[in-house]
Amino acid sequence: MIVLGRRTKGETPKEVEPRMVTIYFMGKAYQVPEGITIIKALEYIGYKLIRGVGCRGGFCGACTTFYRKKNDYRLYSGLACQTPVEDGMYLTQLPFVPAERRKYDINNVKPDVNTILSLYPEIARCVGCNACTKVCPQELPVMDAIQTILRGDLAKAAKMIFDCIACGACSMRCPAEIVHYNVFQLVRRLYGKYIAPKAKHLEKRVEEIENGNYEEQFKKLLSMSVDDWKVLAEKLQKGEDIVL
């Protein structure tokens, strides 16, 4: 028996009326069922959302929410599609993150820190307060990534912040006024294009295709019947190679 360890057992969900909690959306109190996500709660109280909603699965970063809780001075942030409501939550959704994005030509830049500093000089103003890291719903080391960029290690930084979904929470909290996600986008593309090694097998295959190497085989294949295709396809499934 292989057990990899586990957490404590939870409680039995009861099929009773859900407990209602009070949330304050932009200052107004509403009763909503406990445990549903903020997005669902807003729809439950009657909003048909246009802004502040997107993929509803934690990938697009459209539903950034800031909130405070009862008897707690801290300002929290999260994705409304991933964060369940809590009793006494005061919240608002960001309809939009005002952000400056600098234009560049990916074919005409050097993959080093100077490129980034020339486009986004404000990253040098990072004071190391870590406010960005604290609000990241993806729990990324945002400030460390900025410092890593400043040290010139773009490869490391690109991997550190690969999971960024550009929700903008960090940029709204940054005292140095850095727009992190635009900086990170640039870093990732510089890494992907210039620093990561190229796939040689890909280049070879592209060349073969551009030379028309497969055209003859496709001509044969397209003139075959469905039954012929089936025989060939099942052969492939067994791991056999086929020659046309």
């Binding site: 028996m1 939870g10 409680e11 069922p33 294009k193 295709i209 099942e234």
Partner: protein, 548 residues
């Protein structure tokens, strides 16, 4: 944060059984199902074959064909706009190419039109949410391309057809597979961070229905990474994008050509007229129609708008009866119900097991086969786990850590790990409870290899193009994993290239909405009495807590 407790105790007897059988199962591979058995299973259990869920369309090019009620409701609906209320002489945007949509197909079309010489300010993208808020971003698993020595576009071609039960358009499939490596190269050159070995070799895994390892990925954020790089490039090239401005109706001219679209600013409610020499529909699929009441993996705007628009100007459709249910949607916790559990979990080695910890299907059969097998295991054999929202079976994710080493999940499935951790479930240690979820529109608008939209006689509708999930043919009646990111980038590219040539030959006449008047008459003649209007633009969940 509220601490979420993970799985409830009544699940644990079963989880222990999964753990008990794990060692034995690690040495086993469930046999692949023979062709005949696969067909029988799908016919008996796949939701597409459930009686009473479809009806024939009564109007338009697809008349007489069956489609789900939710789809027919929109195909037979009234136009959203009243033609008399729109002043077509007041043109707000006059461009060469209008691209409707904000996902990967739309962005690809915009980029390639620009690469092929159309100035950025002669292109306009319109999208209902933000640029990039699309299913593309949610595609986790990967993108297929036969680019290794052991593989061939020929093999890829046959796998796609087998997956689609040989109902695909072979000409489109040939394009898909032969242009796949070109697209991967293009994306690599743009700076997409593919998973690679230290020497640059792509790390490629298997996918359901694939005979060879050809799934390229970027962690489990493959779609996000591709989308944000395409977006970044569109923005660098300063191609204009109108956000929160969905197209609500196409515009035709007095010669019967498509000539742009009416878009609505969702915030002001005002209509705007876009005149264009070529119009590309790249609006994605219909997940948010919740066909048969299924939960969906799709983003908020997936409401089939583009199909509705194209249909009113005479576009033919195909395979609209065919819906892809992703076999592994989350079934627990209820907050995640219906959310995608990427196929990559299975590609990395996780098996599907029932309440007794027994395997009941090879985990990498094509999607419709796996979905059907899970439904049979639950509804028929009653060997699933009962939850407050329905049923589920176990996807034994801890196997991945055992087979491929500790840390594999964190490295290759960080999005999944994070999503479940929020609810107290550690997928490295505990299996995931899953059930099929509405995932993809297999069919759609009929196009030819130039992405031109075709009518009932297979003649191109002048100046109208389409690419991506809104189209049909590429996948036949079932799509394989990793071919949707490929489809949008391959056919988006083609739309960009061919529209850039096409616009040189176009001259437009006077703008009209005659087709809308004609459509209303057709509804009357077909005796269709309904108050429904389409496109619906966004689903309405007010007061409804069922769907995420």
């Amino acid at each position: 944060m509220v601490e979420y407790p993970g799985y409830p105790p009544e699940f644990w007897d079963s989880i222990e059984k999964v753990e008990e059988t794990r060692e034995k199962r690690l040495k086993e591979t469930f046999p692949k199902m023979p062709e005949a058995e696969r067909e029988e299973l799908v016919h008996k259990y796949h939701p597409d074959y459930k009686e009473g869920t479809k009806r024939p369309v009564r109007v338009g090019a697809y008349k007489g064909q069956l489609a789900p009620h939710e789809v027919v409701d929109l195909l037979e609906a009234h136009a959203l706009i009243n033609p008399n209320e729109i002043d077509l002489d007041d043109v707000d945007y006059d461009v060469d190419i209008l691209i409707i949509g904000g996902g990967g197909a739309a962005a690809s079309a915009a980029l390639w039109a620009n690469i092929n010489g159309v100035p950025a300010d002669r292109i306009l993208m319109v999208t209902k949410l933000r640029f990039g808020d699309a299913n593309t971003k949610m595609a986790q698993g990967g993108i297929q391309a036969a680019d290794k020595e052991y593989d061939s576009p020929i093999y890829h071609f046959l796998d796609v057809l087998r997956g689609g039960h040989y109902t695909n358009d072979p000409e489109l499939v040939k394009i898909l597979v032969t242009e796949a490596p070109l697209i991967i190269k293009f994306l690599e050159d743009l700076g997409v961070m593919f998973d690679k070995e230290p020497d640059g070799t792509m790390i490629e895994v298997s996918g359901g229905g694939c005979s060879r390892y050809r799934m390229h990925s970027c962690g489990d954020y493959t779609g996000l990474e591709i989308m944000r790089v395409l977006m970044d490039e569109v923005l660098n090239r300063e191609i204009p994008v109108l956000e929160f401005s969905p197209a609500v109706e196409l515009i035709t001219d007095d010669r019967g050509q498509v000539a742009g679209a009416v878009v609505m600013n969702l915030e002001t409610g005002r209509y705007h007229v876009v005149r264009a020499k070529a119009t590309v529909i790249a609006t994605g699929g219909f997940g948010r129609l919740h066909i048969q009441g299924f939960q969906t993996t799709n983003h908020y705007g997936a409401t089939m708008d583009g199909v509705v628009l194209a249909y009113r100007v005479g576009a033919q459709l195909r395979d609209m009866d065919s819906v892809q249910y992703h076999p592994t949607g989350a079934a627990w916790p209820p907050q995640l119900a219906g959310q995608l559990v990427t196929e990559k979990v299975r590609a990395l080695g996780a098996q599907l097991v029932n309440i007794e910890g027994k395997q009941f299907v090879y985990q990498l059969e094509p999607r419709d086969v796996v979905s059907s097998a899970i439904i049979r295991e639950c509804y028929d054999r009653k060997k699933g786990i009962r939850t407050i929202t329905g049923w589920g079976v176990w996807l034994d994710s801890p196997m991945i850590e055992i087979i491929r080493g500790e840390g594999t999940i964190e490295k290759f499935l960080p999005a999944m790990l994070r999503q479940f951790k929020r609810y107290g479930i550690d997928i490295r240690k505990e299996p995931i409870l899953v059930f099929p979820t509405l995932h993809y529109q297999n069919g759609g608008i009929v196009i030819n290899k130039y992405t031109q939209v075709l009518d009932a006689k297979r003649k191109p509708i002048p100046n109208l193009f389409a690419a991506g999930e809104c189209t049909g043919g590429v996948h036949g009646k079932n799509r394989l994993m990793g071919n949707s990111l490929l489809e949008i980038t391959v056919f988006g590219r083609r739309a960009g290239i061919f529209t850039s040539k096409h616009i040189k030959k176009v001259s437009l006449g006077k703008l009209t909405l005659n087709h809308v008047v004609r459509w209303e008459n057709m509804l009357k003649e077909a005796k269709i009495r309904t108050k429904r209007k389409a496109p619906i633009i966004l689903p309405d969940y007010r007061g409804d807590v069922r769907y995420r």
